[in-house]
Symmetry: C2
Subunit: 327 residues, 2 copies
């Protein structure tokens, strides 16, 4: 049987998720391992990746897999081998491809996770047929990716798409990247949880539902819990998502000023909030877009591939790299 | 004689400048008309353009001109015919190409002035050979342009590159575009003059040199006068340019986070300040760039084509459009 499949791996802060993907972007088999909660060390993550890949090899047969694509939440060099900087993983100049290639005997390519997700949403998801796409992935931070005329825009050194580290507030909140006022400090899963804990810490009665949802311990609060509370009608949670959506629209208007895409795709865990997030984002975008009313305006749409966009895109990008096709 | 030349026109707030350009980007003949200081009406500007073009036709012979390119300080639609919005010219949905084509019997193309300048600096100027270029043109406002792999990035609707209208200060200074906190309110020629007048209005003794340079009337203050004072050693003017450079670096770091270019070209009238502007900008950029120290950093260089970049680029883009070559 010929090699007609690819494996995609998505490295998160607390898990490694993998899938076997066919050329149509379908996920045929899935595997997943949690990584120890506080361990962001490359060794632990690499061991976990190898375990996940081996499980997927066993499921479909190694000979059917032509390439393995890794989506990493960090700045990946233009050679698509090295993670040069990863604020949320504490990695520096990590030779991820080389370390893994010794242990996985199928060609490996590394991409930024949001670039991979952007590629997947353009090729198989919410932005099919769009000539100018930008993705904004709201997870722990904000990941971003740009696809123009069917090509992923990686920049001169491979690090394009780090929208989350554009400054939106001078002298603003400190970011994991070391700077202040980065967009992701105002419009990400971390920002949502931080704001909710802030309301609880202020002993506000409006936080009663949220506090009850975690049995009184704010440390247990998570983005999905806040989203669930909002969807159940908790007004405070609805307002928190609207505030986040407001900042999302501001940043999207900035990106539209610079790049004028036809479609913004909003993905990542926080996007599960759906219209509770996207409606305020669209309103804010319409108030903020320069020249509004005198220009065509980009659509803001929800991602379609959910939390599998990263691994689907990583797999497809690795397959294209292997076969010499453009991406 | 075959048509081997193109005319480029640059529309500014108070003048129309034109030139006849050869295929090597050389300006062979120049013409220039002032427009009435407060008149930004399309009629007046269009009449002036026709006069300038006719003067250039007369100089080289109309039969040698294969195309006319107009660089306009506004949002130009993707059809390269219509100026949909121009904050500094007060134009709305202006059918510039159609109006001019009736009066100028050589094919006309309209481009955004900063896009035209970006093209010229990439093809003939400071960014030759660079795969990923962004230009930041500091004039009345901030114009911008992106050239990637030898193609001008116009965006989905033609309006990419409006870097000056990215918000850098929430609830900040009001902009001509109608928004608040736009980058160009902090890093443009207008910003420089406004800040200088602010120091004078505060009756500060540190403004004595500046005030003397305009005979005591702050209304006569201009960007070039402030730059000249700084170059003559006036400390206040040096500090004003450094403040502007600081904001320039902040915005450039934001653009680098999103697009990761290899070279930023700083052009426009204010860039005549040279190192008094660019050194503070480079310092600020290095403090602000996310992941700094762990990634290759873009160069920040001065434009080489001065205030003729726009007309050189507009002419070359019109010629390429006419001949069906990519741009």
């Amino acid at each position: 049987m010929s090699a007609d499949l690819a494996i995609g791996i998505d490295i998160g802060g607390t898990k490694v998720a993998g899938g076997v993907i066919d050329v149509g972007g379908q996920v045929l088999v899935r595997a997943r391992r949690d990584t120890p909660h506080r361990s962001k060390s490359p060794d632990v993550v690499e061991n976990t990746i190898v375990e996940v890949v081996d499980e997927l090899f066993a499921a479909v047969g190694r000979e059917r897999v032509e390439a393995v694509g890794i989506g990493a939440a960090g700045f990946v060099a233009a050679d698509r081998r090295t993670v040069v900087f990863a604020p949320h993983l504490s990695w520096r100049d990590e030779p991820l491809q080389e370390n893994l290639q010794r242990r996985i005997r199928v060609p490996i390519t590394v991409d930024n996770d949001a670039n991979a997700a952007a590629w997947a949403e353009w090729k198989f998801g919410a932005a099919q047929g769009e000539s100018h796409v930008m993705i904004v992935n709201l997870g722990t931070g904000i990941g971003g990716g740009i696809v123009t005329d069917g090509r992923l825009q990686r920049g001169r050194y491979g690090i394009a798409g780090e929208f989350g580290h554009m400054q939106v507030v001078p002298n603003g909140l400190r970011c994991e990247c070391g700077n202040r006022g980065c967009w992701e400090q105002y419009a990400s899963g971390n920002a949502l949880v931080r704001e909710a804990r802030g309301i609880i810490a202020a002993n506000s009665p409006v936080a009663a539902n949220l506090l009850a949802s975690v049995g009184g311990d704010p440390a247990d609060l998570t983005g999905p819990l806040i989203t669930a509370a909002a969807q159940a009608g908790d007004q405070t949670s609805i307002e928190l998502l609207a505030e986040l959506g407001n900042w999302l629209g501001v940043g999207i208007a900035n990106l539209a000023a610079a790049f004028d895409p036809g479609t913004f795709v909003v993905g990542g865990g926080v996007s599960a909030a759906g219209r509770l997030l996207l409606d305020p984002a669209r309103e804010s975008f319409r108030r903020q877009l320069t020249g509004r009313g005198y220009r065509p305006e980009a659509r803001i749409v929800a991602a379609q591939l959910g939390n599998e966009a990263g691994l689907i895109g990583a797999a497809d990008l690795a397959r294209l790299e292997r076969s010499g096709e453009p991406s």
